[in-house]
């Protein structure tokens, strides 16, 4: 549903036809069930209550969390705090420059992100108020939403807002019948189906599930298992990054 711009990039977009070689290797050298190299770092911004920077392959996402604070939008009384998300793709994040202003897909991503996080945040701890999560995708290299969910959960933890568990997310693309874990943009372009799973790994609860394409029950189970494995891997990385950032903060305090 992308509105077409009047200008086009001067280099034609060449997307690879086949994304998996005969030997089962992907374009970037990964196996089918292998993750891209991930870098997660909490506390990337100083002015936000909590923040995180995440890189998964070429996808780069920055998240800032503000609050709990009074909602800028007039809302009705609520015993449960609100989680407001705003996902923004930078105008230079994609090949084709994006227009300014919120597009429909950004609005949708914001909604999906909010659902993924709401279940984890203990919202009764901040009644009548809200937390604002601003998420900026600096470079869109595929699976932006999963990276955004993982980074946002980390930023909320960094802000010291009570959560039942961290949330990690992972997606699988189906290309020509094969399931590819953590797809890049080129792989996602060739997909005929996709599954995105966000979960709280310790509590074993699913907080978001987004599926496209036609799936049989058996294949869906297989894809969910693959996603779960990915989420658990990311969970370990997330916890380690949070712990080491906390240790650094403590060490800095001791020096002072």
């Amino acid at each position: 549903m992308a509105r077409r711009d009047t200008s086009v990039p001067y280099q034609p977009q060449s997307r690879p036809e086949a994304v998996v070689s005969d030997t089962g290797e992907r374009l970037d050298g990964r196996g089918l069930e292998e993750f891209r190299s991930a870098f997660l770092s909490p506390h990337a911004l100083s002015q936000a209550a909590g923040s995180a920077y995440a890189e998964c392959g070429k996808t780069k996402v920055m998240v800032g969390v503000y609050g709990p604070r009074q909602s800028a939008r007039a809302t009705a009384f609520s015993e449960q705090g609100r989680v407001q998300c705003d996902v923004k793709l930078a105008s230079f994040a994609t090949r084709q420059r994006r227009r300014f202003g919120q597009s429909t897909d950004e609005r949708e991503l914001s909604g999906l992100l909010a659902t993924a996080l709401e279940a984890a945040v203990l919202r009764h701890t901040f009644p009548k108020s809200c937390i604002d999560i601003y998420c900026l995708v600096l470079e869109s290299g595929g699976s932006e939403l999963t990276v955004a969910i993982t980074a946002a959960a980390m930023a909320i933890a960094d802000a010291g807002i009570a959560m039942a568990d961290v949330v990690t997310a992972c997606s699988v693309s189906r290309v020509a019948g094969q399931l590819l874990l953590d797809p890049t943009a080129d792989e996602a372009f060739r997909e005929d189906g996709s599954v995105l799973l966000a979960m709280m790994p310790a509590a074993n609860l699913v907080t978001q599930l987004v599926v496209t394409g036609e799936w049989s029950s058996a294949q869906m189970k297989q894809a969910l298992c693959l996603c779960m494995g990915g989420c658990l891997q990311l969970d370990a990385v997330t916890r380690k990054a949070l712990a080491s950032s906390e240790e650094q903060a403590l060490a800095a305090m001791r020096i002072e």
Binding site: E118, L205, V206, L209, V210, G213, E214, W215, S217
Partner: protein, 288 residues
């Protein structure tokens, strides 16, 4: 807004598989479906699901295909919640809800980037490769809201698509090299081609309230559930497009069970919808 005790009452009912209107957890409300209700469209349908009422119109225009899928047409899905349904849908709130419903409907229909593998075969909408195609606009208008709007929208969309006829079009090859091929659209309605829609799914929203799983919630019941899954199911029972909603997590066992319920209820629902479509423009009323 419900009081805590009203909520508890409804949840207890769900736990015992009896709901306020006497339905069990896996029953839909009475469905009323009419097709071919709007003259200005290529296909249309009107659905009443309990107190929820939706009208869908499908219009086709001539457009240029996307460079990624030169031999396929384009499909756009939109949902508008009319302020007739209530003053709370006026302005921003209504358009935000409408946009998210539209995304979910589009997700259930989504095709690959080459235009293949969608619920509607988009290559059937191609006219001249790389030059001309049909752009199909599926617009839903929600007139009354009484719970389960998305399911009603998807039923109406399925019926409207099944009712859709594309004008037959003949292409005359260009004579000179620089000339464009000529298109001639037949304005005789009997010469039009019906759109093939066997794999268009219906969305079944399955909600979790404690240990019970419920379909087709009315407005009050929607306030009593923890989380919902919008699951699009085809007539064969395969899954096609899922989105989660609601502020609780779902454990994996429940998830599998909810998928199973959708796969059980969905094909039955589609059977009823297909019967309505087959009985034509005649108004039919039937209880699931």
């Amino acid at each position: 807004m419900l009081s805590q005790h009203e909520r508890h009452y409804i949840q207890q009912g769900m736990a015992q598989n009896v709901r306020n209107d006497g339905r069990t957890c896996e029953h839909y409300r009475p469905l009323k479906l009419e097709v071919g209700v709007l003259n200005m469209t290529s296909g249309s349908a009107r659905v009443k699901l309990g107190g929820t009422e939706v009208v869908v119109g499908v219009k086709v225009d001539i457009a240029t295909p996307s460079p990624d899928a030169p031999d396929a047409g384009l499909a756009y899905y939109d949902v508008e919640i009319s302020p007739l349904a209530g003053p709370e849908y006026l302005g921003y709130a209504g358009s935000e809800l409408g946009a998210s419903l539209a995304q979910r409907l589009a997700r259930s229909m989504q095709a690959g980037s080459d235009g293949r593998g969608g619920a509607v075969d988009l290559t059937a909408l191609g006219i001249i490769k790389g030059k001309t195609c049909w752009a199909m606009y599926v617009d839903a208008l929600v007139i009354r809201v009484d719970g389960n709007v998305l399911d009603a929208v998807s039923i109406a969309a399925k019926a409207a698509l099944a009712d859709t006829k594309l004008p037959s079009i003949s292409v005359t090859e260009a004579e000179g090299e620089d000339d464009e091929p000529e298109l001639e659209v037949d304005d005789d309605p009997s010469a039009s081609v019906r759109l093939e829609t066997p794999s268009v799914p219906c969305i079944v929203t399955v909600s979790q309230a404690g240990r019970s799983y419920v379909v087709d919630l009315c407005e009050e019941e929607e306030q009593c559930v923890d989380a919902s899954l919008h699951i699009a199911v085809t007539a064969q029972g395969s899954l096609r497009g899922i989105t989660k909603q609601g502020s609780s997590g779902i454990d994996l066992g429940s998830l599998q069970e909810m998928l199973g319920i959708a796969q059980r209820v969905g094909p039955k629902l589609i059977q009823v919808v297909d019967q309505h479509i087959a009985s034509g423009a005649a108004t039919a009323q039937e209880e699931d």
